[in-house]
């Protein structure tokens, strides 16, 4: 069980570092399946694991020159406000419909990313506003 939990942690960290997500995508199922936490507790507990991942990941990316700290702080602060509002709305809105809509939106965004990557194969990234 310990070995599985460690493996989940390493895998979540790799995904977080590669793709800039917190790792909750793997932490939450890992905590429910390997450590038998209930869903609500797993989502809450994954936040504890995400803190060092995000901190160390942001620090490394900063060293590589890939962090726009001011933008990150604005996004993070407004995300907190958005999350509070989202948690309130979750009780009021028809969640199944919303979830399907959000899923469709994600697929549309994925298609945009692929199209953009396809269209600019050789173009290396440039810093915005420079």
């Amino acid at each position: 069980m310990i070995a599985e939990a460690l493996a989940v942690g390493v895998a979540a960290g790799v995904v977080a570092g590669l793709l800039g997500v917190g790792g909750g995508i793997l932490f939450v199922p890992g905590l429910t399946l390997v450590l038998s936490l209930h869903q609500v507790d797993a989502e809450a507990t994954s936040l504890v694991a995400i803190i060092p991942v995000a901190a160390v990941g942001a620090w490394r990316q900063h060293r590589y020159g890939n962090v726009r700290l001011g933008d990150g702080v604005v996004i993070g602060a407004l995300s907190v406000a958005g999350a509070v509002a989202g948690a309130e709305l979750a009780d009021l809105l028809p969640e199944d419909v919303l979830r399907a809509g959000f899923a469709a939106l994600m697929v549309a965004v994925a298609a945009q990313l692929v199209r953009r990557a396809w269209r600019q194969p050789a173009k290396e990234e440039r810093s915005p506003g420079e």
Partner: protein, 123 residues
């Protein structure tokens, strides 16, 4: 999805609010919203989008862990058990990312989004 016609600060605010809103609603949000919108709306490079996303996520996670902890949902040592090995993972992941072409990051991210979308629907 064309560039956002709004000003840059407003676009940043919209990205942050949307990321928070969706994570509050579905438990999925954060990076899956921040990274693609920085790329598509603000012309961020892939590496910058993911690095900046991690900085934003750190802020949200600290707030979320504190409020969820106060409500008694956090199993601290279980979080440490998966979180500490994840530090090694994120060091490897960020290192590996520097070796990849930017477009590979976009394509991997698109695959992640489709996976999350499927998970949301079948859940």
């Amino acid at each position: 999805m064309a560039r956002m016609p709004l000003g840059r600060p407003l676009t940043l605010g919209l990205i942050g609010t949307a990321a928070g809103l969706f994570s509050g609603l579905f438990g999925v949000g954060g990076g899956t919203v921040i990274v693609p919108l920085l790329i598509l709306w603000l012309a961020y490079g892939e590496r910058e989008a993911t690095g900046t996303s991690l900085a934003a996520i750190g802020i949200v996670a600290v707030y979320g862990a504190a409020t969820q902890g106060a409500e008694g949902h956090v199993h601290f040592w279980d979080g440490v058990l998966v979180g500490v090995p994840a530090i090694a993972g994120v060091l490897a992941g960020t290192w590996l990312q520097q070796k990849l072409p930017a477009r590979a990051i976009s394509l991997l991210f698109a695959a992640l989004l489709v996976g999350v979308a499927v998970d949301l629907v079948v859940r």
